[in-house]
Assembly symmetry: C2
Homo-oligomer: 196 residues x 2
């Protein structure tokens, strides 16, 4: 029971690295097993298919990020910053930039799509909780919170993915968040400083 799990994790990490650097479509199963030093049969002993492995890799990726996001939930910062922090946890800006780059390469649409969907599913409840507490504090005022949150997340993904966005995009995006959540104008202005 132990050995198997370890090997699977090892394969997952190798695949993760290769998917990021060479892209999902450009990485063949043959290359993965060569890098891992195992036979084809072994690979398919652990994964039903290449795509199934991709899903596992993405899950692994996201679990890590989710913990970071949850930490933000309990941090002692103003609510608007909390929101941005949660989103930022999932959208790597530091040395992990390569992930974001990889996801936006045209050959990785499948990976990007799966990641985005999983991500939005994971973040929405966290984000919604923060918005709720914001409403209690009187910072926000709105109904249908999860729906509003989802739209914000969809847009943040579409806007800030790869092909940078204009200053005007940011301005409108901030305006949109404030209006969507019923916040006072300027509440989210600090975002402007964070993006560039």
């Amino acid at each position: 029971m132990k050995k198997g799990e370890k090997r699977k994790l090892e394969l997952l990490q190798i695949a993760y690295r290769m998917f990021i650097t060479r892209g999902y479509e450009n990485t063949s199963v043959d290359e993965i097993i060569e890098e891992a030093g195992i036979a084809k049969g072994t690979y398919y002993y652990y994964f039903e298919s290449k795509e199934a492995m991709l899903e596992d890799v993405i899950s692994m990726m996201i679990e890590k990020e989710e913990e970071k996001a949850k930490a933000f939930l309990e941090a002692d910062v103003p609510i608007p910053q909390k929101l941005v922090g949660i989103v930022a946890s999932f959208r790597p800006t530091n040395e992990e930039q390569t992930i974001g780059d990889a996801l936006n390469r045209p050959e990785n649409i499948l990976m990007h799509d799966k990641t985005t969907k999983m991500l939005i599913e994971k973040i929405t409840p966290l984000f919604s909780k923060v918005v709720e507490s914001g409403i209690e504090e009187g910072i926000f005022e709105c109904d249908n919170i999860p729906e509003r949150v989802r739209m914000i997340l969809i847009l943040s993904d579409a806007l800030f993915d790869g092909n940078g966005c204009s200053q005007n995009d940011v301005i409108v995006f901030i305006d949109l968040i404030e209006k969507l959540l019923g916040a006072k104008k300027g509440t989210m202005d600090f975002i402007k400083e964070l993006i560039r």
Copy 2:
């Protein structure tokens, strides 16, 4: 010069039909050439690759829809309805439903992605023009029009694609459009009737 173009168009139409019914990934070049009754070499005489052909097919699709949308631009209907009409021109709801269905099948992400990007690029200027005339009429009031329009389009694509959306999604979406464009509350309520 004539024969070649005709043959290319013929192949494009065959491919279009097959991509829609069987999906892009599920349609092999072999199947296309069999249906067309030509040899492999001939196919690659007209198209650099299967993916290049996909782009041609999509361009063809979109050109058709764009004309419908332009007709709406000059139609004699209220501005809010004009907006919806333009978007609707591109999002088939009638007998062409199959297109929308096909685009949302998981195996067609590539096609869907390419279509969406091309579509948004095409619609944004048309949509923006209508919003501008809406501002002149005092119905809307906002700046950064193209950016706002793009966000609306991105969301309409993400929300109304395949996996139906809840009633709340629609309510929030309407609220969002009105606030983004600076319209009076209720201006866009008629959308509720159109979606189902």
